[in-house]
Symmetry: C3
Subunit: 162 residues, 3 copies
């Protein structure tokens, strides 16, 4: 069972980043760049295509840990849409490389990896362990754009062309 079939079976509501075209809210940015089979994505946020934010604010102050996990899960589903935009299909993902998770936190808020794991769980459910497990690091930062509580930096290996 491939990743597209799994995503369908899970009933995930994956946004279309081709329509309307990606970019604009934060100025001139593009969604991804591919060099050979290596793909780096632009920062992915817990926002709808229309700009509605899920649980903005500082985790542990304005936003609970569980809400931050919801935002991370939502961001990971958005990432699936970004992958489709980059590769045409989730079935073209050969392996996740690195998922860097940035969480808006007050000083010294250690459980940030619990937020990151909520994003990882989506990738494991859709891609399985071999393709869906990523290297990871999680950082609590002072500020994120529009006060989002989470932002994901993803890189991956695409299946080779031809």
């Amino acid at each position: 069972m491939g990743a597209e079939a799994r995503a369908a079976a899970l009933g995930l509501d994956i946004p279309d980043y081709a329509d309307p075209p990606y970019g604009g809210r934060y100025g001139r940015v593009k969604a991804f760049h591919r060099v050979g089979d290596f793909v780096e994505f632009s920062g992915i946020t817990p926002e709808t295509r229309g700009g509605d934010q899920l649980h903005p604010g500082v985790v542990g102050v304005d936003v609970t840990l569980e809400q931050a996990r919801e935002a991370a899960r939502f961001t990971a589903i958005n990432a699936l849409g970004m992958m489709r935009l980059a590769l045409g299909s989730l079935d073209q993902v050969a392996g996740l490389s690195r998922a860097l998770c940035f969480v808006l936190t007050p000083p010294a808020y250690p459980p940030i990896y619990e937020v990151a794991q909520a994003a990882s769980d989506v990738f494991l459910d859709v891609f399985g362990d071999e393709i869906g497990t990523a290297g990871r690091a999680t950082f609590g930062v002072a500020s994120l754009s529009r006060n989002n509580c989470f932002e994901l930096l993803l890189s991956l290996e695409a299946a080779s062309k031809g």
Copy 2:
């Protein structure tokens, strides 16, 4: 019109990172590494080759948003010098991959992407939309080396050799 011609037409004062040789102020670091056509750069800062800093300090506290944008623009011009060092010429840039922007901020300072956009604008002016638009993410952090207000992490695709 290529990127070198555009940079000349814009009158940008691009520093030479070959003379004096890059490195030293922050210990033993190198300017870039290339694997195939993928190039990762060392952190790029709003400092002259001699070490003079443009607008150091915390954005929103010691430094205004407009000053931070000046620092980001100055950093992007420095990045052009780093690209020349890596590739020989700006005309050898096939595409920017990812521009990660780190801004020195107090807690919860959302307009950080306005700072990042000032760097992006330089790249768009020099390379045009197709080559000069990058994936991007912007983070407000507690500390940067020497209290710089901005630091840029850049990766790009070089034109293939031969």
Copy 3:
């Protein structure tokens, strides 16, 4: 003299990340991903394989600069173990690409690059200048997992296979 011989001469105590298998403490993560000759590693921390942390806490508050440098040095030695896991031998490292250093700091703590340099010194001792010098950037962040005082994000070029 190769990197393995130098590491042996230095008497470094490099942990084995194959036994027990890497991963688990922070959820489902993998150690590294390789695309062609480019390798990205998961975040590397100043922790023993058993989970004991070296000098957790905020640098400049709970932890001295010198203690943070010890943690960075310990992390770099752990990174050598991660490289062995990824490539089989340190002698398969063709060149370090980028070492991103994240330090747990209070607001505006500029000497973070002195912490990062302690990690760089290990790489220079083991690999020599040509292979062991990396591009680098250092960021002071509000939070790191388990309140570690340091975390390293490393990418490198592996020697080409066959």
